[in-house]
Protein backbone atom coordinates (compact mmCIF):
# COMPACT_ATOMS: atom_id res chain seq x y z
CA UNK A 1 0.00 0.00 0.00
CA UNK A 2 2.80 2.34 0.90
CA UNK A 3 4.82 1.55 -2.22
CA UNK A 4 1.76 1.83 -4.39
CA UNK A 5 1.08 5.27 -2.95
CA UNK A 6 4.67 6.35 -3.46
CA UNK A 7 4.91 5.23 -7.06
CA UNK A 8 1.51 6.45 -8.15
CA UNK A 9 2.75 9.87 -6.92
CA UNK A 10 -0.69 11.33 -6.66
CA UNK A 11 -2.36 10.12 -9.87
CA UNK A 12 -5.57 9.17 -8.08
CA UNK A 13 -5.63 12.55 -6.37
CA UNK A 14 -5.10 14.34 -9.68
CA UNK A 15 -8.00 12.42 -11.22
CA UNK A 16 -10.22 13.50 -8.36
CA UNK A 17 -9.26 17.17 -8.59
CA UNK A 18 -9.69 17.19 -12.37
CA UNK A 19 -13.18 15.77 -12.05
CA UNK A 20 -14.06 18.21 -9.29
CA UNK A 21 -12.89 21.07 -11.50
CA UNK A 22 -14.98 19.72 -14.36
CA UNK A 23 -17.95 19.61 -11.98
CA UNK A 24 -17.49 23.30 -11.14
CA UNK A 25 -16.96 24.31 -14.78
CA UNK A 26 -20.23 22.59 -15.58
CA UNK A 27 -21.88 24.54 -12.77
CA UNK A 28 -20.72 27.83 -14.28
CA UNK A 29 -22.01 26.72 -17.66
CA UNK A 30 -25.41 25.79 -16.22
CA UNK A 31 -25.71 29.09 -14.30
CA UNK A 32 -24.86 31.03 -17.46
CA UNK A 33 -27.41 29.11 -19.54
CA UNK A 34 -30.01 29.57 -16.84
CA UNK A 35 -29.50 33.32 -16.77
CA UNK A 36 -29.77 33.55 -20.57
CA UNK A 37 -32.84 31.33 -20.61
CA UNK A 38 -34.51 33.44 -17.94
CA UNK A 39 -33.66 36.68 -19.69
CA UNK A 40 -35.03 35.50 -23.04
CA UNK A 41 -37.77 33.30 -21.58
CA UNK A 42 -36.23 30.50 -23.63
CA UNK A 43 -37.90 27.23 -22.62
CA UNK A 44 -35.65 25.07 -24.76
CA UNK A 45 -32.58 26.42 -23.04
CA UNK A 46 -34.27 25.72 -19.71
CA UNK A 47 -34.54 22.07 -20.83
CA UNK A 48 -30.80 22.04 -21.42
CA UNK A 49 -30.32 23.25 -17.86
CA UNK A 50 -32.42 20.35 -16.60
CA UNK A 51 -30.43 17.85 -18.70
CA UNK A 52 -27.08 19.17 -17.57
CA UNK A 53 -28.03 18.46 -13.96
CA UNK A 54 -27.86 14.76 -14.79
CA UNK A 55 -24.34 15.20 -16.09
CA UNK A 56 -23.43 16.88 -12.83
CA UNK A 57 -24.83 13.90 -10.95
CA UNK A 58 -22.67 11.42 -12.80
CA UNK A 59 -19.52 13.48 -12.22
CA UNK A 60 -20.37 13.62 -8.51
CA UNK A 61 -20.71 9.84 -8.35
CA UNK A 62 -17.40 9.33 -10.16
CA UNK A 63 -15.60 11.70 -7.77
CA UNK A 64 -16.96 10.05 -4.64
CA UNK A 65 -16.10 6.53 -5.75
CA UNK A 66 -12.59 7.63 -6.71
CA UNK A 67 -12.15 9.19 -3.30
CA UNK A 68 -13.24 6.07 -1.50
CA UNK A 69 -11.07 3.90 -3.73
CA UNK A 70 -8.15 5.47 -1.89
CA UNK A 71 -7.48 8.99 -3.12
CA UNK A 72 -6.33 11.47 -0.50
CA UNK A 73 -5.68 10.96 3.20
CA UNK A 74 -8.64 9.44 5.07
CA UNK A 75 -8.54 12.60 7.17
CA UNK A 76 -9.53 14.69 4.14
CA UNK A 77 -12.00 12.41 2.41
CA UNK A 78 -15.20 13.36 4.28
CA UNK A 79 -14.63 17.08 3.63
CA UNK A 80 -13.99 16.53 -0.07
CA UNK A 81 -17.10 14.39 -0.42
CA UNK A 82 -19.18 16.93 1.48
CA UNK A 83 -18.02 19.69 -0.86
CA UNK A 84 -19.01 17.68 -3.94
CA UNK A 85 -22.42 16.93 -2.40
CA UNK A 86 -23.04 20.61 -1.67
CA UNK A 87 -22.15 21.57 -5.26
CA UNK A 88 -24.59 18.90 -6.40
CA UNK A 89 -27.29 20.60 -4.31
CA UNK A 90 -26.77 23.73 -6.42
CA UNK A 91 -27.37 21.69 -9.55
CA UNK A 92 -30.55 20.30 -8.00
CA UNK A 93 -31.81 23.79 -7.15
CA UNK A 94 -31.07 25.02 -10.66
CA UNK A 95 -32.91 22.07 -12.13
CA UNK A 96 -35.94 22.63 -9.90
CA UNK A 97 -36.01 26.37 -10.60
CA UNK A 98 -35.66 25.72 -14.34
CA UNK A 99 -38.60 23.33 -14.13
CA UNK A 100 -40.73 26.02 -12.49
CA UNK A 101 -39.63 28.53 -15.13
CA UNK A 102 -40.86 26.20 -17.81
CA UNK A 103 -44.25 25.90 -16.12
CA UNK A 104 -44.89 29.59 -15.71
CA UNK A 105 -44.23 32.98 -17.23
CA UNK A 106 -42.14 35.26 -15.06
CA UNK A 107 -44.19 38.41 -14.36
CA UNK A 108 -42.83 41.60 -15.95
CA UNK A 109 -42.30 43.57 -12.69
CA UNK A 110 -40.03 40.80 -11.37
CA UNK A 111 -38.16 39.97 -14.51
CA UNK A 112 -35.27 42.42 -14.29
CA UNK A 113 -34.52 41.68 -10.68
CA UNK A 114 -34.71 37.89 -11.23
CA UNK A 115 -32.37 38.13 -14.19
CA UNK A 116 -29.96 40.15 -12.03
CA UNK A 117 -30.11 37.43 -9.37
CA UNK A 118 -29.37 34.82 -12.02
CA UNK A 119 -26.42 36.90 -13.20
CA UNK A 120 -25.06 37.18 -9.67
CA UNK A 121 -25.50 33.42 -9.21
CA UNK A 122 -23.36 32.96 -12.31
CA UNK A 123 -20.74 35.33 -10.93
CA UNK A 124 -20.71 33.39 -7.67
CA UNK A 125 -20.19 30.10 -9.49
CA UNK A 126 -17.24 31.62 -11.33
CA UNK A 127 -15.80 32.81 -8.03
CA UNK A 128 -16.30 29.33 -6.56
CA UNK A 129 -14.31 27.80 -9.42
CA UNK A 130 -11.62 30.38 -8.88
CA UNK A 131 -11.58 29.53 -5.16
CA UNK A 132 -11.22 25.85 -5.96
CA UNK A 133 -8.19 26.54 -8.18
CA UNK A 134 -6.70 28.67 -5.42
CA UNK A 135 -7.31 25.93 -2.88
CA UNK A 136 -5.49 23.40 -5.05
CA UNK A 137 -2.48 25.69 -5.12
CA UNK A 138 -2.78 26.22 -1.37
CA UNK A 139 -3.38 29.97 -1.68
CA UNK A 140 -5.28 31.98 0.89
CA UNK A 141 -8.99 31.87 0.11
CA UNK A 142 -10.03 34.79 2.26
CA UNK A 143 -10.57 37.35 -0.51
CA UNK A 144 -12.55 34.98 -2.67
CA UNK A 145 -14.66 33.75 0.23
CA UNK A 146 -15.40 37.38 1.08
CA UNK A 147 -16.38 38.10 -2.53
CA UNK A 148 -18.82 35.19 -2.45
CA UNK A 149 -20.31 36.45 0.81
CA UNK A 150 -20.75 39.92 -0.69
CA UNK A 151 -22.65 38.49 -3.66
CA UNK A 152 -24.79 36.39 -1.33
CA UNK A 153 -25.64 39.41 0.80
CA UNK A 154 -26.59 41.35 -2.30
CA UNK A 155 -28.90 38.58 -3.46
CA UNK A 156 -30.42 38.39 0.01
CA UNK A 157 -31.32 42.09 -0.20
CA UNK A 158 -32.77 41.61 -3.67
CA UNK A 159 -34.78 38.63 -2.44
CA UNK A 160 -36.76 40.78 0.01
CA UNK A 161 -37.49 43.29 -2.71
CA UNK A 162 -38.64 40.57 -5.12
CA UNK A 163 -40.91 39.04 -2.49
CA UNK A 164 -42.40 42.48 -1.73
CA UNK A 165 -43.08 43.07 -5.40
CA UNK A 166 -44.39 39.54 -5.95
CA UNK A 167 -47.04 40.09 -3.28
CA UNK A 168 -48.51 42.92 -5.37
CA UNK A 169 -48.98 40.61 -8.35
CA UNK A 170 -52.38 38.93 -8.58
CA UNK A 171 -52.35 35.17 -9.24
CA UNK A 172 -55.06 33.25 -11.03
CA UNK A 173 -55.05 30.22 -8.72
CA UNK A 174 -53.23 28.50 -5.89
CA UNK A 175 -50.90 26.50 -8.14
CA UNK A 176 -49.75 29.49 -10.17
CA UNK A 177 -48.99 31.26 -6.94
CA UNK A 178 -47.20 28.26 -5.53
CA UNK A 179 -45.07 27.76 -8.63
CA UNK A 180 -44.10 31.43 -8.68
CA UNK A 181 -43.26 31.30 -4.99
CA UNK A 182 -41.16 28.15 -5.44
CA UNK A 183 -39.42 29.72 -8.42
CA UNK A 184 -38.44 32.79 -6.40
CA UNK A 185 -37.44 30.65 -3.44
CA UNK A 186 -35.28 28.37 -5.61
CA UNK A 187 -33.66 31.23 -7.48
CA UNK A 188 -32.69 33.06 -4.30
CA UNK A 189 -31.51 29.93 -2.44
CA UNK A 190 -28.86 29.05 -5.01
CA UNK A 191 -26.56 31.71 -3.60
CA UNK A 192 -26.89 30.31 -0.05
CA UNK A 193 -25.76 26.88 -1.18
CA UNK A 194 -22.85 28.30 -3.21
CA UNK A 195 -21.78 30.17 -0.09
CA UNK A 196 -21.94 26.86 1.84
CA UNK A 197 -19.73 25.24 -0.77
CA UNK A 198 -17.26 28.10 -0.42
CA UNK A 199 -17.18 27.57 3.36
CA UNK A 200 -16.36 23.89 2.82
CA UNK A 201 -13.49 24.84 0.56
CA UNK A 202 -12.14 27.00 3.37
CA UNK A 203 -12.31 24.03 5.72
CA UNK A 204 -10.36 21.82 3.30
CA UNK A 205 -7.84 24.59 2.73
CA UNK A 206 -7.22 25.15 6.43
CA UNK A 207 -6.98 21.47 7.34
CA UNK A 208 -4.30 20.86 4.74
CA UNK A 209 -2.09 23.88 5.50
Amino acid sequence: MFLERLFSSGKKERDVTEKMRRHLELLCDVCSKFKTALENQDRNLMCDVIDLERQGDSIRRAVISLIYEGAFLPFLRPDLCKFVEVVDEVFDLLKDTATYCRSTELPEPLRDECVRVALLNFRMSEMLLSSFDAMLKNYDLREKALAIRIYEKKIDDMKFYIIDEAQKIPVSDFWSGKILSDLISGLTSISDVIEDASDHLQIINISMR
Binding site: D112, E113, M127, K137, E143, L146, A147, Y151, M158
Partner: protein, 137 residues
Amino acid sequence: MQVREFMNTRIESIDADRSVYDAVEIMVDRRFRSLAVTFSGKLSKTSFDGVVTARDIVFKVLAKGVNPKKVKVSEIASRPIICISQETSIQEAATLMEKSNIARLYVCDGDKVVGMISMLDIMAAELIVRARGSHVS
Protein backbone atom coordinates in the same frame (compact mmCIF):
# COMPACT_ATOMS: atom_id res chain seq x y z
CA MET B 1 -16.22 46.67 -13.52
CA GLN B 2 -19.16 48.84 -14.44
CA VAL B 3 -21.60 50.34 -11.98
CA ARG B 4 -24.46 48.38 -13.52
CA GLU B 5 -23.15 45.22 -11.88
CA PHE B 6 -23.20 46.63 -8.40
CA MET B 7 -25.89 49.24 -8.29
CA ASN B 8 -29.02 48.98 -6.17
CA THR B 9 -32.07 48.94 -8.38
CA ARG B 10 -34.39 49.41 -5.49
CA ILE B 11 -34.79 53.15 -5.03
CA GLU B 12 -36.79 54.34 -2.10
CA SER B 13 -38.34 57.73 -2.44
CA ILE B 14 -40.40 60.28 -0.54
CA ASP B 15 -42.52 63.19 -1.66
CA ALA B 16 -41.03 66.64 -1.13
CA ASP B 17 -44.04 67.86 0.83
CA ARG B 18 -43.75 65.28 3.54
CA SER B 19 -42.11 66.06 6.85
CA VAL B 20 -38.58 65.20 7.83
CA TYR B 21 -40.10 63.11 10.62
CA ASP B 22 -41.76 60.86 8.01
CA ALA B 23 -38.41 60.54 6.25
CA VAL B 24 -36.75 59.57 9.55
CA GLU B 25 -39.44 56.96 10.14
CA ILE B 26 -38.92 55.34 6.73
CA MET B 27 -35.15 55.46 6.91
CA VAL B 28 -34.90 54.00 10.43
CA ASP B 29 -37.53 51.36 9.81
CA ARG B 30 -36.05 50.14 6.55
CA ARG B 31 -32.42 51.01 7.28
CA PHE B 32 -31.82 53.39 4.41
CA ARG B 33 -29.24 56.12 4.60
CA SER B 34 -30.94 58.23 1.95
CA LEU B 35 -34.22 58.77 0.15
CA ALA B 36 -34.78 60.16 -3.31
CA VAL B 37 -37.10 63.18 -3.23
CA THR B 38 -39.85 63.77 -5.77
CA PHE B 39 -41.05 67.28 -6.48
CA SER B 40 -43.56 66.48 -9.18
CA GLY B 41 -46.34 65.90 -6.75
CA LYS B 42 -46.74 62.23 -7.43
CA LEU B 43 -44.52 59.33 -6.52
CA SER B 44 -42.93 58.11 -9.67
CA LYS B 45 -40.06 55.80 -10.00
CA THR B 46 -38.71 57.56 -12.98
CA SER B 47 -38.30 61.16 -11.96
CA PHE B 48 -36.47 62.35 -8.92
CA ASP B 49 -35.28 65.84 -8.33
CA GLY B 50 -33.32 65.61 -5.14
CA VAL B 51 -32.04 63.45 -2.34
CA VAL B 52 -32.32 63.64 1.45
CA THR B 53 -29.63 61.85 3.44
CA ALA B 54 -29.13 60.90 7.07
CA ARG B 55 -26.45 63.56 7.18
CA ASP B 56 -28.89 66.23 6.01
CA ILE B 57 -31.41 65.25 8.67
CA VAL B 58 -28.97 65.02 11.54
CA PHE B 59 -26.88 68.10 10.72
CA LYS B 60 -29.57 70.42 9.45
CA VAL B 61 -32.49 69.47 11.72
CA LEU B 62 -31.72 67.29 14.74
CA ALA B 63 -28.41 68.89 15.69
CA LYS B 64 -30.06 72.29 15.63
CA GLY B 65 -32.82 71.13 17.99
CA VAL B 66 -35.50 71.80 15.38
CA ASN B 67 -38.70 69.74 15.49
CA PRO B 68 -38.53 67.37 12.46
CA LYS B 69 -42.32 67.35 12.22
CA LYS B 70 -42.25 71.02 11.38
CA VAL B 71 -39.69 70.82 8.57
CA LYS B 72 -40.48 69.65 5.05
CA VAL B 73 -38.19 67.38 3.15
CA SER B 74 -37.97 69.91 0.32
CA GLU B 75 -36.36 72.42 2.72
CA ILE B 76 -33.31 70.26 3.40
CA ALA B 77 -33.00 68.06 0.27
CA SER B 78 -29.97 68.42 -1.98
CA ARG B 79 -30.66 68.96 -5.64
CA PRO B 80 -30.28 68.25 -8.48
CA ILE B 81 -29.07 64.67 -8.07
CA ILE B 82 -25.83 63.64 -9.69
CA CYS B 83 -26.32 61.06 -12.40
CA ILE B 84 -23.97 58.66 -14.11
CA SER B 85 -24.52 56.12 -16.87
CA GLN B 86 -24.64 52.37 -16.35
CA GLU B 87 -21.38 51.96 -18.24
CA THR B 88 -19.44 54.16 -15.86
CA SER B 89 -16.62 52.31 -14.19
CA ILE B 90 -16.43 51.87 -10.44
CA GLN B 91 -13.20 53.85 -10.44
CA GLU B 92 -14.82 56.82 -12.21
CA ALA B 93 -17.77 56.70 -9.83
CA ALA B 94 -15.44 56.77 -6.83
CA THR B 95 -13.54 59.74 -8.27
CA LEU B 96 -16.77 61.63 -8.87
CA MET B 97 -17.93 60.96 -5.31
CA GLU B 98 -14.66 62.31 -4.00
CA LYS B 99 -14.79 65.43 -6.18
CA SER B 100 -18.39 66.22 -5.27
CA ASN B 101 -18.02 65.12 -1.65
CA ILE B 102 -21.09 62.91 -1.78
CA ALA B 103 -21.71 59.37 -0.65
CA ARG B 104 -23.99 58.16 -3.42
CA LEU B 105 -24.62 58.54 -7.11
CA TYR B 106 -27.73 57.83 -9.10
CA VAL B 107 -27.45 55.68 -12.20
CA CYS B 108 -29.51 56.97 -15.08
CA ASP B 109 -30.58 55.61 -18.43
CA GLY B 110 -31.42 58.83 -20.26
CA ASP B 111 -33.91 60.64 -18.04
CA LYS B 112 -34.88 57.52 -16.22
CA VAL B 113 -33.21 56.73 -12.90
CA VAL B 114 -32.46 52.99 -12.90
CA GLY B 115 -30.31 52.56 -9.83
CA MET B 116 -28.16 54.00 -7.08
CA ILE B 117 -24.57 53.29 -6.10
CA SER B 118 -23.21 54.11 -2.66
CA MET B 119 -19.75 54.17 -1.10
CA LEU B 120 -20.42 50.79 0.44
CA ASP B 121 -21.17 49.41 -3.03
CA ILE B 122 -17.91 50.89 -4.33
CA MET B 123 -15.97 49.11 -1.56
CA ALA B 124 -17.77 45.82 -2.17
CA ALA B 125 -17.03 46.10 -5.89
CA GLU B 126 -13.36 46.72 -5.11
CA LEU B 127 -13.22 43.50 -3.06
CA ILE B 128 -14.82 41.55 -5.88
CA VAL B 129 -12.38 42.96 -8.44
CA ARG B 130 -9.45 42.04 -6.19
CA ALA B 131 -10.79 38.52 -5.64
CA ARG B 132 -11.22 38.08 -9.39
CA GLY B 133 -7.84 39.59 -10.04
CA SER B 134 -6.09 37.07 -7.81
CA HIS B 135 -7.79 34.34 -9.81
CA VAL B 136 -5.49 31.42 -10.54
CA SER B 137 -5.55 30.52 -14.21
